[in-house]
Amino acid sequence: MEVCECGEKSVAQAIEVFENSSLPFKKSKKLVTECNKSCCRGALLKIHDMSLYGRYDYEEIAFVIEQRQERLKRLNEGNE
């Protein structure tokens, strides 16, 4: 499942980045996104927090990603 369109990273790749970095979230997030945008911050923050304890709730990660997609859909509807 893709978590970040900008950096074209999957959930598994984001986990790998966070596990291999001890930088603060703001900095390790940029390693995943390779950009300065905040579109996927919510999902990445969840994954980052989970990585600190080594225990991943994939259902919850999927829920946050799906909700973001729903948000984009509604935003587009609102702008039409």
Binding site: K30, K37, S38, S51, F63, R71, G78
Partner: protein, 503 residues
């Protein structure tokens, strides 16, 4: 008289492992955790738990609650997060709940809140709420409200209903402005309104008593900061901010200020002399003003990814500054000398990249034994004997109950940690004993120890260990602070050794 209802409920609770064997009477049950059980409904008998105070029903598939819920008169804290409620069951309305978690459900209205007169804390994040349709009595008890990750476009009607709120989270909605009606929120201490579409703030906002403010991820192109007399922390990250003005009366007690990933071409210094953390990373800043030295207690400065060529000499005199992020700037040689003289404990341009955490192999054992000498030089209880250390590490490596991790840089072992499986009679299960965490001196302050511990924690979860534990030398202040920061709690136990003499 035999209590059939309690008997049936007890059997039902037992199948979910939710009731300790020590509980024999229904009156003894004050806390109940039924989370993560895929429950679609609860038995009517649950209403007999008249002393129940805390109930966790998170991560189930509930859409309704039994009518008998209305009898749980002692219930104060209810967690219904991650269920599928579209409406709030009426059986809850007569309860005097203090804390209610309804995050990640399918609610689309706030109107039900008027029934909860004693509520102090409510989490309604990740629902389908589009508009503010509540009317509460002005003297309501609500102090903490989380409405993040909903679909709100207008919050003007919210503030008058909750004038005593102290903490408000409105992040990730569709808000475009902070309206004038926020002026009635005189008790507000923390406001997170990040990841919206904000472009404007009503001037009355700057008269509030907010202490922590998050405005990240919005659409502010320009901003004029003033007032906010009690503000201690402000984040403006990820805004397309091209113009920032900070007035002299802005936040005199500010401690943290962050403008990460904006579009600023100059660095504006806040007037507070109490600033501890300042971040202007990922902007287009060309110069760090010499006035930076006025921040006598500044501990962390983040200027990564800008266009800075030179640094003021005054930076080298900032004795409190222990963390400096400055990589990805075209620094000249003089600037590098300033950093050398400053000598911060953590500095990204000194950090080594490509350090990998991996399971130890037989080829690593010799290097690990040598590394242990560094650790034992600090710990006065142990003697350095490389041969003994090698034998110990080799035995651990061969023991299936042990995990050994190493940090490697360009093929060289620069850090290590071990964990052994023990059986805890207190936990009634396996626990992990962490030992031998050490990082070579030239590789410290780069987060390698944290990564080793995080990876070991992950392995402990995989093994199903109930707890991980360790002992640290009481004179090793760095180690004690390190473990505390990573969530380890000091116990009341002392470790004793008895040396068994050889015959």
């Amino acid at each position: 008289m035999y209590d059939y209802e309690w008997d049936r409920l007890r059997v039902w609770l037992e199948q979910y492992g939710a009731i300790p064997e020590s509980v024999t009477k229904k009156e003894e049950l004050t806390r109940l955790d039924l989370s993560k059980n895929n429950l679609k409904e609860l038995p009517q008998e649950i209403g007999i738990l008249s002393n129940l105070v805390v109930l966790n029903l998170a991560n189930n598939k509930l859409t309704k609650l039994p009518e008998s819920f209305a009898k749980l008169k002692a219930l104060s804290n209810l967690d219904l997060r991650r269920n599928t409620f579209e409406n709030i069951p009426e059986s809850l309305f007569s309860l005097e709940l203090r804390s209610l978690n309804l995050s990640s459900n399918r609610l689309d209205s706030l109107a039900f809140l008027e029934h909860f007169k004693e509520l102090r804390v409510i989490d309604l994040s990740h629902n389908n709420i589009e508009k503010v349709d509540l009317s509460l009595e002005p003297n309501n008890q609500l102090r903490t409200l989380n409405l993040s990750h909903n679909f709100l476009r207008d919050i003007a009607a919210l503030f008058e209903s909750v004038p005593h709120l102290e903490r408000l989270v409105l992040s990730t909605n569709f808000l475009q402005s902070i309206p004038e009606s926020i002026g009635c929120m005189r008790a507000l201490e923390e406001l997170d309104i990040s990841d919206n579409h904000l472009t404007s703030i009503d001037p009355v906002f700057f008269t509030l008593n907010i202490e922590r403010l998050v405005l990240s991820g919005n659409q502010f192109g320009e901003l004029k900061l003033e007032g906010l007399e009690l503000l201690e922390s402000l984040s403006l990250d990820e805004n397309p901010l091209k113009y920032l003005e900070i007035k002299e009366n802005f936040a005199p007690y500010l401690q943290e200020f962050s403008c990460d990933s904006c579009e600023l071409d100059s660095l504006v210094l806040p007037p507070s002399i109490y600033l501890r953390s300042l971040c202007y990373a990922s902007n287009h800043i060309k110069e760090l003003p010499a006035e930076i030295e006025h921040y006598a207690v500044l501990q962390e400065l983040d200027l990564e990814a800008n266009e800075i060529v030179s640094l003021p000499d005054t930076l080298a005199n900032m004795n409190s500054l222990h963390t400096l992020y400055i990589k990805d700037n075209p620094l000249n040689q003089d600037a590098k000398k300033v950093i050398e003289v400053l000598d911060p404990q953590i500095c990204d341009i000194r950090m080594k990249t490509g350090v990998e955490i991996q399971k130890a192999t037989s080829e690593d054992l010799e290097a690990m034994a040598k590394l242990l000498a560094v650790l034992f030089a600090i710990e006065s209880d142990f003697e350095i004997d490389e041969q003994k250390q090698y034998m110990g590490i080799k035995r651990l490596y061969e023991d299936e109950r042990s995990d050994l991790l190493v940090a490697k840089h360009e093929g060289k072992v620069v850090g290590m940690v071990t964990m052994q499986r023990l059986i805890s009679s207190a936990e009634g299960d396996n626990v992990g004993q962490i030992e031998d965490l050490v990082v070579e001196e030239g590789y410290r302050k780069m987060g390698i120890g944290s990564r080793l511990i995080n990876r070991m924690r992950s392995l402990a979860h995989q093994h199903g260990y109930k707890r991980i534990q360790l002992a640290a030398d009481i004179h090793n202040d760095n180690a004690l602070a390190f473990y505390t920061r990573r969530g380890f709690r000091k116990t009341h136990l002392n470790v004793y050794h008895y040396k068994v003499q050889e015959n």
